[in-house]
Subunit: 420 residues, 2 copies
């Protein structure tokens, strides 16, 4: 053992057993009982290895990052330090929102390995639930809770600038993952790139049109600058519907390995943008038994409720903490009427940021490298392309005209007005 | 010696001699000749000790930071690590603009001590030159050169995001100095504070009005957030006319101890705002022999030229480097017509930021803790208050209406329209 201390080793379903047995914090989660031990690799994600570990007396999940991107291979190296940023973010976000973040049992920085709570069935990845047409009555409430608490408590509305700058510095180290976002979200879709793909030949022209759309590219430049420069809060950084696991009464946010101090709207937009993608994909999942009409209405209502509840919870947290340690709006300056105005301004900007980032996230899922299962699972390419085109047209409009939207209701109306 | 290695010691005119003699990089600057050695402390600044060292064969300046603010004393502690940030910024800015930044000969982090080029007479502090009514024909050209080169080359227009995040992290350590800015520029003037002062009783009402001006406070909140959150470039952080030493043909920028990755407009605004303060102070320096009319016109022309030359140099640097390593606007995306549009948008935002920060810097010099010699040297309090009030009224207007100004010419017109 001693010889290997301090060195990284990629584990597998077999070697993981010894690792667990040698790690007290993991053993205890299994009740120190290895009867009926089962280990199964389930990493359906793009980047890492995820193992579900169960025994007669307990369960846990092990996630290990390798020094490259799993789905591409060693040809695309990627710092395995991302596991460190994922672990400390699960802990920090978990501190503010324990109801919606899995507990971290163990973290091994050298091994880039996290042990965390196993989100047992019926938890499934939200994106799969949305494809299956499952309604989640508490989803809006839960996600609004998660986003408001994590973003508020890691911003200057809650922290001193001293704490803030220290944390910003720490997360600057997650630069490789940020660079991936910069490339695949803000750059590749707007230029020729070997990585881009689309539902060809149907969307070939549409993809080219994105690359020639000056107005769109100018807006994207602003968003990219905001992503790279603005340390507003500790964001999850990859908050799509594949980073959420849900049941009818539980909602859990996983996989914050892209975490960084960035614009809050990047998280809110990623999430809402992916819900809008789910909406536009529904027509591709409709069949004789289910036209998905009611489900589309439920998605729209969930989008509306998510933003409205977020706004309510976020401004409430702010109001409750206005005499606290946050240094952006000192209560000796901002009180009474001007406090409400300050909140209004802040939330309005955040709303427009969210729409912009959300739109950018939608576009990149249609003409960039990484597509979403919502569309990919539509077998008929022509039908898929039709769904994608409507989503793309809406996203382009939203990105360019976002400042014209004053309410989420107006956004919902615009979604419904996209012509077939 | 060994016993003291690694420990900080505040030097004085006497103990500095031994320090210099024990430091080869300093000795060599004095030609290794201590004949006629003279050491004189000249720190007219607020924070640190500055020694001019001359011998028959050479000269240099030594600047030492103590762990508190000099003009206040040990009751206001302040990290002496500020000397480290000053030293590395002099080096980084000097790398991009050697013509306008003094060379660093020596840096001792433990001692918080910098050895640098002595800017010999006729160099004087620009603020003193402005008070004396001296015209500097090359000032606009030089300062535009300094600001465009230092800001451009430390931004994402020139650097990769990897370099950028590394540098941002490093400068997060300068948080104590940033906190001082946050307090004295963006907070204290807008609330009751034991530190605030103004030309009393004349400006008492004006100072109170600032604290009651909701529209003003909402704008200041936006600027404060930008200062705390937006890592756009390595800014000097304290670029007023007291941080510039000038002759008829030389312009040198000193004292970047407040350096941090922040919004570019903070530097440009600080500098232009202090020129505008100089303008409004001139009536207090007019006498029978010199009504200062021509000099006021020269200041206005200098403000106009500084911005116009800055814009020209900055966009030229950008155009020259558009196929370089900068990652904000990849040339595969932003070329031809859209490149010009992108530049226009960027510069327009920067202009409005600069006006906002400039206005905030003006306001804090009239109703905050630290005033400027331009006004302080006006003996007659009533005349001084009159000058200050006009500057304050203009600054408030500029802060609130900055987005309405499309050109620097419009700003110049507005300055001249301030009623007596
Ligand atoms: N705590 C958990 N409980 C149950 N399943 C999980 C857990 N964490 C991850 N998974 C499963 O593993 C998959 C990949 O995990 P994820 O953290 O998204 O990895 P990646 O970073 O590779 O995308 C998820 O889609 C989910 O199916
Ligand atoms: N390199 C230099 N050459 C000549 N004089 C200098 C130099 N650096 C500083 N000084 C003088 O010392 C004063 C204080 O220096 P400064 O760097 O502004 O210190 P502080 O941080 O205390 O404001 C300046 O106003 C100037 O008169
Ligand atoms: Mg994932
Ligand atoms: Mg992941
Ligand atoms: Mg507060
Ligand atoms: Mg100074
Ligand atoms: Mg200084």
């Amino acid at each position: 053992m001693a010889a290997e201390e301090g060195s990284f080793k990629a584990l597998n379903e077999n070697t993981l057993v010894d690792y667990i047995k040698a790690t007290p914090s993991l053993c205890s989660r299994l009740g120190n009982d290895f009867g009926n031990l089962k280990i199964k690799e389930v990493g359906d994600g793009n980047l890492n290895f995820v193992y579900i570990v169960t025994t007669d007396s307990g369960s846990l999940v092990i996630k290990q990052a390798l020094p490259y991107i799993r789905c591409i291979g060693e040809s695309w190296p990627m710092s395995k330090e991302r596991a460190y940023f994922e672990a400390i973010t699960l802990q920090e976000h978990g501190r503010w929102c324990p109801d919606h973040v899995p507990v971290v049992y163990h973290f091994d920085r050298v091994m880039s390995l996290i042990g965390m709570r196993y989100l047992a069935p019926p938890h499934i990845i939200l994106r799969k639930g949305l494809i299956a047409g499952i309604e989640y009555p508490l989803l809006a409430e839960h996600m609004a809770d998660y986003m408001s608490k994590t973003l508020f408590h890691t911003s200057l509305l809650y922290n001193t600038t001293a704490v803030h700058r220290q944390e910003v510095a720490k997360y600057c180290g997650n630069l490789e993952l940020c660079r991936l976002t910069e490339q695949v979200v803000f750059s590749d879709p707007y230029k020729k790139s070997e990585y881009n793909r689309c539902t060809s030949p149907y969307l070939d022209e549409d993809a080219l049109a994105v690359q020639k759309d000056d107005a769109l590219k100018l807006e994207v430049a602003e968003l990219k600058a905001k992503f790279c420069e603005r340390a507003q809060a500790l964001i999850h950084g990859d908050l799509h519907t594949g980073s959420v696991m849900a049941t009818q009464d539980s909602t859990q946010v996983i996989d914050p390995e892209f975490a960084v101090y960035g614009p809050m709207g990047f998280d809110i937009g990623a999430y809402l943008g992916n819900l809008i993608l789910a909406y536009f994909s529904q027509d591709g999942h409709a069949d004789a038994a289910n036209d998905r009409y009611a489900y589309k209405q439920w998605i729209l209502k969930t989008i509306e409720d998510t933003w409205k509840l977020f706004e309510k919870k976020f401004t409430s947290l702010w109001a409750e903490n206005k005499d606290g340690s946050g240094e952006a709006y000192l209560s000796a300056i901002y009180n009474d009427r001007v406090f409400s105005l300050a909140q209004e301004n802040y939330v309005k900007d955040l709303f427009h940021d969210s729409l912009g980032f959300g739109a950018a996230k939608m576009i990149r899922r249609i003409v960039g490298v990484a597509h979403v299962e919502d569309f990919e699972s539509i077998q008929d390419a022509k039908i898929r392309a039709g769904c994608e085109r409507r989503a793309l047209e809406f996203a382009k409009k939203l990105l360019k005209e976002r400042r014209g939207f004053q309410t989420i209701d107006a956004v919902i109306v615009a979604i419904q007005e996209v012509p077939f």
